[in-house]
Amino acid sequence: MANTWGYGAMTNHIGDMQNSKAIIIFGANPAANHPIAMQHILKAKEQNGAKIIVVDPRYSKTAAKSDIYCRIRTGTDIAFMYGMIRLILKNKWYDQSFIQDRVYGMDEIFKECEHYTPEVVEDITGCPKEILIQATTAYAAADPGCLIWNQGWTQHTVGSSNTRLGSILQLTLGNMGKAGGGCNILRGHDNVQGSTDMGCLADTLPGYYGLAEGSWKYFAKQWNVDFDWLKARFKTPDMMQKKGFSLSLWIHGVLDEANNKNNADAPLKALVCIGNGISTITQTHKMKEALDKLDLVVFIDPYVNDAAVITTRNDNMFLLPAASQVETEGTVVNTSRCAQWRYKVVDPLYEARADHEILFDFAKRFGFYDQYIAGMGKGDKFVWPDDATNEIAKALKTIGMQGRTAERIKKHTTNWHLFNDTSLKGRGVVEKEYYGLPWPCWTTSHPGSPVLYNLSLPVSQGGMGFRTRFGVERNGESLLAANGSAPVGSRIKGGYDEITAKNIEELAGITLSEDEKKLLEGKNWKNDDSGLLNKYALEAGLAPYGNARARTIVWEFIDNIPKHREPLHSFRHDLTAKYPASNDNPNHFRTNVRYISEQTKQEWVKDYPINIVSGRLVEHMGTGTETRASKYLAELAGEMYGEIHPKLGGKLGINDGDMMWVYGTGEGKIKIKCKYGYTVDENSVFLPQNFSGVWSGESLEKRYPGVTAPYALGENSNQITSYGYDQQTSCPETKCSLVRLEKA
C-alpha cells in the first residue's frame, strides 16, 4: 500500500463501505472478526444494492452472506486477481482516464496478466472459471467497488504482493479516491493502526520516518535530546540505522548463532513483551526453545501471557500486572485512521499499574528518565496523557498529525453523537469536521481526511492526490500526476513534487519574508516545525506531500510487480517449479530466512498431505488470553478442534468427536478434537488460532500462578504451522501449511 501510493493505511473508512455498489472480500472474515464492520457491509447490500463477493478457502460466516462465493486454495489470491485483471483488460472494463492520469507502470501488469487465462486460474486456485468470470463481471460493473482484506492476505510469504496487487486491481478499475471505493484493510485488533503509527515496527521510527541519520536527528530535536547521546545508546553506530529483529523473527536471533553477525556479533539475551500474544506467530515450539534459552524474560500484561506458561524456565522470568484499557487514559486509533479519546473509568485494581508508569519506572532505574520525558517540554510537570498526545501531534508530520491535539480529539469523543457514520461528517459544534480527525490532518483547523487520495475535495477539506514518494521521474517517464489531475481548488493543475522551502514560493505563488526564509532554511513538509509550509500549501490548495502517480512497479522489491509464487509448503508440488519461491535472504530483519531452499527441501505434500486453513472464532481475540478467561465466552467456545469434511474423516478413519493428532512440517504436534463440517474442502482442516495452555496433549494449567488460569485451555495451533515469512515484511506465514492427521 505505502509502496503503491504513499500511505500504508485503510484508504476509506468503515462507514463508507455503505456507499459501495460491490464489495469484494479477500482473506477476511468480518462477520467473525469485525461484527460491527459487517453491519455496514450488510447495510450496503440491503439499502445500496451492493453485491457481496467473498474469495476464501473457507465458507465463513461472511461468505454465508455473500452473493458470489469463490473457494480458492490457500495462497493463490495473486493468480485469482491476475485472472480478474485479464478479464477486465480483455473486456475493456478498466478506467482508461484514471490509469492515464494517475498510475505509473500499468502496462507491466497488463503484460503479466496475459498468462492467467480462466483455465490457468482454475488450475492454480481450484476455483471454477465460471465463478471467476461471474465475480469479475459483477465487480467490474459496479461503480464504485470496495476491496476488503485482512490477515488472510498479509500472513503469507507473498503477503506484500497480495496487498500490492489488490491495490493495483482497484487502480485498474479507477476505484481509488472516491466514497464507496478504496482498499479497506480491517485491522486485526484494537489500535493496530495507532501502534504502527507510533512506530511499533522493526524498521521505522514513529510516523513511518525511516532509520537514516537525518530521521534520527529530526527525532532527537523533537524529543529534546542530544543526537550524540542517542547515538551512544547503540553498540555500534551502524546498528542505529539497521532494521531490528521483527516480531516474527526474534526467535531466530536467540536460537541461531549464525544470525549473530547481523546483530553486532551477539545473540538476543532478553525479552520484554508488553501486551503481545507472541504465540500467535508461527512455530510456537521454536518460541518455547527461545524463551527457555534467554537470560531474562519479562511479560507486562493484564492477564498471564500464555507464553509464560509455555516456557519451562524456572528463573529470571517476571510477570508485571498491567492496567487494562479502562484503568488508564489516552488515544486509540481505529482501522480508518480516526482517533478517539479513551477516558479512565476506574483506577487500576490490585497491583496493576498503567503501562506508562511501568515504563517511567524502568527509565528512572536505567537512568534516562529526564531524557525520556523531555519531548513533552515541561520537565516532570507534564500532564499525562495530554502532553504526550500533543508531542505526537507535533512530531509526526509525515502522516499529518499536526491537527490531532489532545483538546480536539477529546472534543470529538465527547460529541460522538453529532457525527454521521456514513460520511463521518459532524454537525453543530463539530460542524464540517470528520470524526476522530482521520489523518492526514494537516493543521489545527483541518477537518481530517476521511477518504484518502480524493480529488473531489480541496486539500483544506480532506482532499489530496497520490503522494510523491518515489521521486518525480523513472527512466525518463514522469511519476507526477498528469495535467488536469489535481484536487479541487489546487493552484497547480497537475502533479508536483513534495513541498519544500525551495519550491513553496513557486508552487504556492507566494513570496516568503526574510524571517520566514530563515525559519524555513533547509526544511521540507516532513520536518518544518514552524507549520508555515503546510499553511501556505493548503492556502494554495496543495497537498504538502505532493501530487503524483500511484505505481505498480516497486523497483526496490524482490518482485518488481507482484508474482504468483507457490507456498513454501505447497499442496500442489507440481506447480512449484513453474511458480517457485524467491531466493533465500541471508539478512532479512537480521535473520537468515529460507525460501527456495525450504520449498525444494523435499516433496512436503507426500508426508503432509492435508492443507490447513486457519482463522479466528468470533468468541475469542488473538491468543484468547483475555477472552478464554471470560466464563461465558469459554462456555460458547471452550474447546480447541479441527474441522474436516466428513469425506476426509471417512478416508482417514477419524470420526466426528474423536481425538486426533496433527503433525506439522516442523517438529510440533497437537492433539485436538475432530469436528465434521462443510466449511472447508475435502483436502483441508480448519484450525482456530485462539487457544493455548495445552502442549502436545498435556495441560499446562498447573503452570499458571495461583488462580490465574483461564476457563478454557486448548492446543495452540501455531505449534504446527509451517516455517515461512513474508519476503518483504517478514510477516509470518500462518495461512499456508501442510499437516498430517492421525487418529489419537
Binding site: 439499502q47 444494492g49 456514513t422
Partner: protein, 196 residues
C-alpha cells in the same frame, strides 16, 4: 375514556442479517448474571458450511400469545402481562419440565448443577422485564435479572446486536421497521446505522 393499549411485545430476528456472532447471547448472560449452562438465548445455525444455504437466527422465548408453557404448567406459575410478555413465578415453579416439553422453541432452561443433577427452578428469557417481585428490587434482580423494560430501556440482546438483525418491541412497531427496510431496499442509504 382511557385509551386501550393493544401493544404486544415481540422479538424478530432477520436471518439475512444475523451473522452468528453470539453478541446477543453474551449480552444477555452478562446483564442478568445467568449461570453457565443456562441459555436464555441461543443462536441457531442451520446448513452450516453449505454454500448458499447457511442461515443463522437468534432464538429465545418467543413470548407466545397462546403460550403452551402456561397451559401445561401443573402449578400455574406462568402469567402473561398485558403487553404480551410471558413471565413466570419462580416461587411457584416446581422444576417439573412440562413447559420444556410443550415449548416449540426449547426456551425453558433448567440449572444442571444441583445435587444429583436434578432440575431446579425453570429459567427463561424475561424480555428483560423481571418477574412478579417488586419492580427493580434486589429480590427481583436476583431471581430474574434486570428489569430494563421498567426503566424504559431496550432488552439487552437487541440493543447489543451487532448488525441490528434482532429487533424487539411492540409487534406493530417491529413490523413497521421491517416494512420500512423492505420498501427502502436498493434505494440508497436512508438511515443512520445505529438506528437501522
Amino acid at each position: 375514556m382511557s385509551k386501550v393499549d393493544f401493544s404486544r411485545m415481540k422479538f424478530y430476528c432477520d436471518e439475512t442479517l444475523c451473522i452468528d456472532c453470539n453478541g446477543c447471547v453474551v449480552a444477555c448472560k452478562e446483564a442478568h448474571e445467568v449461570p453457565v449452562g443456562v441459555n436464555r438465548r441461543k443462536v441457531v445455525t442451520i446448513n452450516e458450511g453449505i454454500v448458499g444455504k447457511e442461515v443463522s437466527v437468534s432464538m429465545a422465548c418467543m413470548h407466545c400469545t397462546d403460550a403452551p408453557c402456561q397451559q401445561v404448567c401443573p402449578v400455574d406459575c406462568f402469567y402473561i402481562r398485558t403487553d404480551g410478555i410471558v413471565l413466570h413465578d419462580k416461587n411457584k415453579c416446581i422444576g417439573c419440565g412440562y413447559c420444556l416439553f410443550a415449548c416449540p422453541f426449547g426456551a425453558p432452561q433448567f440449572p444442571k448443577d444441583g445435587a444429583f443433577g436434578t432440575k431446579g427452578k425453570m429459567d427463561k428469557c424475561t424480555m428483560c422485564a423481571g418477574g412478579p417481585e417488586e419492580t427493580n428490587s434486589e429480590k427481583e434482580r436476583h431471581l430474574y435479572g434486570q428489569n430494563r423494560i421498567a426503566e424504559g430501556k431496550v432488552p439487552m440482546c437487541a440493543s447489543m446486536c451487532s448488525t441490528k438483525a434482532l429487533l424487539v418491541g411492540d409487534a406493530h412497531e417491529v413490523a413497521l421497521i421491517k416494512t420500512y427496510r423492505a420498501t427502502k431496499k436498493g434505494q440508497g442509504i436512508v438511515t443512520d446505522s445505529y438506528g437501522w
